[in-house]
């Protein structure tokens, strides 16, 4: 085929493309996940009974705003990673800064408290469940963000998945904070950060597997005498390689059945 023919074909009837599609699709993912996160906490966990009173405590705000900052930074990073050639640059710092601040506050709080209080500050009463609750509550946002990313073009699928995980966990943790009874900075520094890290890790693995928008079908590309690049198991089978599974209907014409 001549390249000019392909170009003519692509240009013919090409519809206008809406602007800022990546930003809008990812915002849509958050808009889908956030109400579900609120619903999960509202029905499965229950909000703090003293929520009104607690609104005057700075610690509750820290617990709420820290994940929110993570969600925002994750959003900025992931929407850049979704576009080929866009640099993330200083936005990485926006993702790291809230964690560093919380860690610093935790260190100060620990140093100022007697050592006997440390276990209580580090583990509270809910350390066993905190990480998994955050992961569970962030799941709707996470899935929606992956679906959005699937329609975009992340050239670094693993990193983009991780950023999507951090964004989703930020949303989940912010809502979980309205249930969570803990009020110590060290608890936040370990278990909230842990929940976000867990989702980022899961996002990295899932992103690598699902977010590639190209395929390297080893079988179709082997040239004589060269070893084939072996596709990792998460690569979808190339279209050509799938044909035999579909039976005789797809057999090329002219070849005996």
């Amino acid at each position: 085929m001549k390249t000019d023919d392909l170009i003519t074909m692509l240009a013919t009837g090409a519809a206008p493309v809406p602007r800022r599609v990546p930003t809008r699709r990812l915002l849509l993912a958050v808009a889908f996940g956030l109400p579900l996160a609120i619903a999960i906490v509202g029905t499965q966990y229950g909000f703090r009974r003293d929520l009104i009173e607690a609104m005057f405590w700075p610690m509750l705000w820290l617990k709420f705003l820290f994940p929110l900052c993570m969600a925002w930074a994750g959003f900025v990073v992931v929407q850049r990673l979704a576009r080929p050639g866009a640099r993330v640059g200083p936005a990485w710092w926006a993702l790291a800064a809230p964690v560093l601040v919380v860690w610093a506050m935790a260190a100060v709080a620990l140093l100022r408290a007697p050592q006997d209080d440390w276990p209580q500050m580090l583990f509270g009463q809910t350390w066993r469940t905190c990480v998994f609750s955050i992961a569970f509550i962030s799941l709707p946002t996470f899935i929606a963000a992956l679906v959005a990313l699937k329609g975009l073009a992340p050239t670094r699928p693993g990193v983009a998945g991780a950023a999507a995980g951090a964004m989703a966990a930020g949303v989940g943790a912010a809502i979980y904070a309205l249930h969570c009874p803990e009020l110590a900075a060290p608890f936040l520094a370990i278990w909230y950060v842990g929940g976000i890290a867990l989702m980022a890790g899961a996002g990295a693995l899932i992103g690598r597997a699902l977010l590639r928008w190209y395929r390297a079908p080893a079988a179709a590309r082997v040239s004589a005498g060269r070893p084939a690049w072996r596709a990792p198991p998460w690569h979808a089978a190339p279209v050509g390689a799938r044909a035999p599974l579909r039976g005789a209907r797809h057999r090329p014409p002219g070849r005996p059945p």
Binding site: M1, K2, A11, V21, R83
Partner: protein, 192 residues
């Protein structure tokens, strides 16, 4: 970052401005500008990929087409706040690495990150024919994708006319074109 010679940089900037203009008009729905854009872009891609795939001259034109199709399918991921060369280079590099991996060539993966600007420096108009035939590949698509592409993209009919001929709804025609191009992009691989 190594400095490119001044002449190259100026040429790259000019090309960036021209191509970006055409592309933005194309994104706004101007098919002529879009066609012009793809044509100019294909020349840069050909030179860029030709230089890097000198060991496999037969693959250059295939990869040019693959890149064009990928850029068309992903054109909604370009935002006007970023340089077009960065966007196009990222996709071309991604496709090239994909090909080189498939060829089992680890050596060729050591690609300088700084060669982004080079994409718009050179231009090659001589197109050899790719080894694939679009009509053969189209024939392998299911009818609900093949017919919309046939009518809208090759014969140049409007979506409404196509809907009338095929008896599909207009949105089904649009979806068919969209999914069909995606499927073609995937099939390009298998046919090479």
């Amino acid at each position: 970052m190594p400095r490119t010679p001044l002449g190259n940089e100026a040429q790259s900037n000019d090309t960036e401005a021209v191509l970006r203009d055409l592309f933005l008009q194309g994104l706004a729905g101007d098919a002529t500008a879009y066609r012009d854009f793809l044509q100019k872009l294909s020349r840069h891609l050909r030179a860029f990929l030709g230089k890097r795939l000198f060991g496999w001259p037969d693959d250059v034109e295939d990869l040019v087409q693959e890149c064009l199709l990928a850029m068309h399918n992903q054109r909604h991921t370009y935002q006007s706040d970023q340089p077009l060369t960065a966007w196009a280079h990222a996709i071309a590099r991604y496709k090239m690495i994909d090909l080189l991996r498939a060829k089992g060539s680890r050596e060729a993966l050591h690609d300088s990150i700084d060669d982004e600007l080079e994409l718009f420096v050179a231009s090659a108009a001589e197109a050899s024919d790719a080894r694939r035939d679009i009509h053969t590949m189209l024939a392998s698509l299911p009818e609900r994708q093949r017919l919309p592409i046939q009518h809208v993209k090759i014969e140049g009919l409007s979506v409404a006319e196509t809907a009338q001929i095929t008896g599909m709804s207009e949105s089904a025609v649009k979806v068919g074109v969209h999914r069909g191009l995606k499927a073609l992009a995937a099939r390009f691989k298998g046919a090479a």
